[in-house]
Symmetry: C2
Amino acid sequence: MPDVDFTQQLREAGLRVTRPRLAVLAAVHAHPHADTESLISAARALLADVSHQAVYDSLHALTGAGLVRSFKPAGSVARYEARTGDNHHHAVCRSCGAIVDVDCAVGHVPCLTASDSRGFVVDEAEVIYWGTCPDCAITAAAT
Amino acid sequence: MPDVDFTQQLREAGLRVTRPRLAVLAAVHAHPHADTESLISAARALLADVSHQAVYDSLHALTGAGLVRSFKPAGSVARYEARTGDNHHHAVCRSCGAIVDVDCAVGHVPCLTASDSRGFVVDEAEVIYWGTCPDCAITAAAT
DNA sequence: AGTCTTTCTTGACTCGTTCAAGATAAGTGG
DNA sequence: CCACTTATCTTGAACGAGTCAAGAAAGACT
């Protein structure tokens, strides 16, 4: 996946194509669920001396354009991912902090159908499953 | 609801009964979905000069004991509520920030039944519905 | 009451994130 | 291809929710 893809994406989103944005976009694609600090490092591996501010700005711009999505499990810093528009959710391991993607519960977006939402017009449901990942479950059982 | 109730709750939870904790517990009951700063103010109305640290400590202790629950909509600070153990969720208005309780989607805790959670043992699902509250929907339509 | 342990007070501090001002470079028309 | 306009980036400071630490205070048990 050459930079051309990302350039294209930026153009189509009406964003200017800049080196920092390409680096950040590539970093998010390469490191799903990464926090900002990791993304700064990853972006610097592609483009030395990018300021942290540029990364924050880019992430905001990309988030606004829908090219990346951000989420923030309680007790964690902001995390970003490039998988957007498919209404998937996340499962977080209480023990090791691992995060995996989880497709919508019953398969057909039931997450948007709150039975009684008090007249709210709901347009997005953000779901985080808390639990124990397979690895930690095994470790805990072995204790 | 005299303080006796809260005293009882603390005792049963195995926590020491202290003035700050009673004040914080009462504050959370009186102001559902309030953020920490509001709770500090509310607690000070009941017990002047409580330190913010005592409020933080109390909230942590109460959360650990299951007497209060904390949640944190993206972009917001921590919020607390006294309604626990019934697996309800929240709807947040993007426009005015209002938060209301929403009972579980289909009525029978489907929120815990992620179809494919990659082997995760899920013990809690945290759901936040984002949308527009009735008031803001009307205001927006009138524009 | 006396003693022990938990909890509270005070105050400093961390860290993720944001703000601001000036420098730089992407896009656009000539 | 060059100049122009404006969005974006750099640098560096600032902010604020939340945490840490040391000593003082006050529950709980005997």
